[in-house]
């Protein structure tokens, strides 16, 4: 099966590989997939609390070339978006951009799941923080 040039480019020169401190309040982490299924994606966003913009994104992926390319592309797209805009990223856009073949569509689904999981994690941290700050009570995280 020949791969598109874009998949190969992301696979050979993956963007934004790495990790942020998952404990940081401004970082949202999404970990999706399972080793026994052959794909695990960890995707992280770093949000600027003042602007609400995603300033940076990083990923690490265990999976096939298409899974690596999907998560690499996702990190590129996340940068500079608001959290709400990021929620709008659809797996079909990833499929289109990378010209993923039908058997690889699940890689794009996983990337979308990873984005949503990272945002959810970030929002949960903010929600846990705010009322606690208002009430001045310690919060178990």
């Amino acid at each position: 099966m020949p791969y598109s040039d874009k998949i190969l480019d992301h696979y050979n020169n993956p963007r934004n590989v790495g990790s942020f401190d998952a404990k940081s309040l401004n970082v949202g982490t999404g970990l999706v997939g399972a080793p026994e299924c052959g794909d695990v994606m960890k995707l992280q966003i770093l949000v600027n609390p003042d602007t609400g913009l995603i300033e940076d994104a990083k990923f690490k992926t265990f999976g096939c070339g298409s899974a690596i390319a999907s998560s690499s592309l996702a990190t590129e797209w996340l940068k500079g978006k608001t959290v709400d805009e990021a929620m709008g990223i659809k797996n079909t856009q990833i499929v289109e951009e990378l010209a993923l073949p039908p058997v690889k569509v699940h890689c794009s689904v996983l990337a979308e799941d990873a984005i949503k999981a990272a945002i959810k994690n970030y929002q949960e941290k903010q929600d846990a923080e705010e009322p606690a700050a208002e009430k001045g009570e310690p919060v178990a995280v």
Binding site: M1, P35, E36, V40, K60, T61, I68
Partner: protein
């Protein structure tokens, strides 16, 4: 500089040996007769070539030429052997014994027979992929008519103790079929000494052409009878009708003849290359694991799992090296290799496996190139792997509750 791409997938298929091509060529042009034409020299010439071919093939497995039935390949040989025996001996019994890591050509044939009322026992294998004669003895009933166990596995290269199994079957009066596609021409096989009644082989795994195979069918002690699966002109003792493809048959026979004459040298050569590759990779990469038996295996096969790296992803990184993976990322099911699962290799490591199949035309330079390339890519992908990162941080990834997708 090595020439790329490098072919290291010889368990899948092999390049046709130039000597085989040369032997075949006249049978397309000057010697084009139909081997069944008894009335003119064109037919006689073809018939002579076919009969000489039978003998050359028989020599490789210790049988007589008369016991060789030509087929389109091992899939057909396996179908003919198993379905043919089942139909012919169904009054005697309806039980067949096979094992979990057989090729699909055997497993799916057995499954079809199950739908037709036969009972099939699929024996489990040990962690090296071997089944033992004792398991077969225990599984036998008075309804057992056939045991079908492969000689060597296509994915992991594990050799089965077919001599022991043949002896047992003989003593119990049960027919023994072996799918010997991977073993023929690579290791010594003798249908008499090993008590084999039916043996499937194919040309394209031994540097012959695709589309031609054979089934050895024992003629005495006992005389094995088969219900034909293809009806027609009554060729091949009525067991397999169809005009014989003489050029292909000559190709198969030449491939068998070369394999027999050069077996010792070739074994030594491929074994050395395999060990160079295996050690070269595994000594440099911690947490890499050899799948299959450490010693009882095909000389050219190395199936290695690289923890924290997905097999298909790795293949993309070494795309100028043709290998295959037990990862099934390309299949709709997302299930990894059923062979590796049968060994008890975890799904995660099954997804991380690469099969290297060394053969006649591989060189030391190629092996060294592949070692460097694989080591570099595995290290690169591990740096990109969240699983590797977690393990570095001391997290037990087996204890994480992963959401299956």
């Amino acid at each position: 500089m090595v020439k790329t791409p490098i072919y290291m997938d010889n368990n899948s298929t092999t390049r046709v040996d130039p000597r085989v091509v040369e032997a075949m060529l006249p049978y397309f042009t000057e010697k084009f007769g139909n081997a069944a034409s008894r009335s003119h020299p064109f037919g006689w010439e073809a018939e002579t070539a076919v009969e000489e071919s039978r003998d050359l093939i028989a020599n490789l497995i210790g049988s007589s030429g008369k016991e060789i039935i030509f087929t389109s390949g091992a899939t057909e040989s396996n179908n003919l052997a198993i379905k043919g025996v089942a139909a012919m001996y169904k009054k005697k019994g309806n039980h067949i014994i096979s094992q979990a890591t057989e090729h699909k050509a055997v497993l799916d044939t057995c499954k079809r027979l199950e739908r037709d009322g036969f009972q099939v026992t699929y024996l489990p294998v040990d962690k090296y992929g071997q089944v033992h004669a004792e398991q077969i003895r225990e599984a036998m009933t008075d309804k057992t008519i056939l045991v079908s166990i492969m000689a060597a596995n296509n994915e992991i290269g594990t050799l089965q103790p077919i001599g022991d199994i043949g002896k047992l079957c003989k003593s119990k009066g049960v027919l023994f079929h072996t799918d010997a596609v991977q073993a023929v021409g690579k290791i010594p096989l003798d249908v008499e000494a090993m008590g084999i009644d039916l043996l499937s082989l194919t040309a394209h795994k031994i540097y012959g052409p695709k589309g031609i195979g054979a089934l050895y069918v024992r003629k005495r002690d006992p005389r094995v009878r088969l219900e034909p699966q293809i009806d027609g002109g009554g060729h091949e003792r009525g067991m397999r009708s169809g005009t014989l493809p003489v050029p292909s048959i000559v190709g198969l026979a030449t491939a068998c003849d070369i394999a027999r004459r050069e077996m010792d040298l070739e074994y030594e050569k491929t074994f050395k290359l395999r060990e160079r590759l295996r050690k070269g990779i595994m000594d440099r990469l911690p947490e890499s694991y050899l799948n299959g038996h450490p010693t009882e295996r095909l000389p050219g096969n190395a199936n290695i799992s690289f923890a924290y790296v997905e097999g298909e992803g790795l293949m993309m990184g070494i795309k100028d090296v043709a290998v295959s993976s037990g990862s099934a990322c390309t299949s709709a099911s997302l299930e990894p290799s059923y062979v590796l699962r049968a060994l008890g290799v975890g799904d995660e490591l099954a997804h991380s496996s690469i099969r290297f199949g060394l053969g006649r035309f591989n060189t030391e330079e190629e092996v060294d190139y592949v070692i460097g390339h694989v080591v570099h890519e595995v290290n690169r992908l591990r740096e990109m792997s969240p699983l590797y990162e977690m393990v570095q941080q001391g997290i037990d990834i087996k204890k994480i509750e992963w959401a299956a997708h």
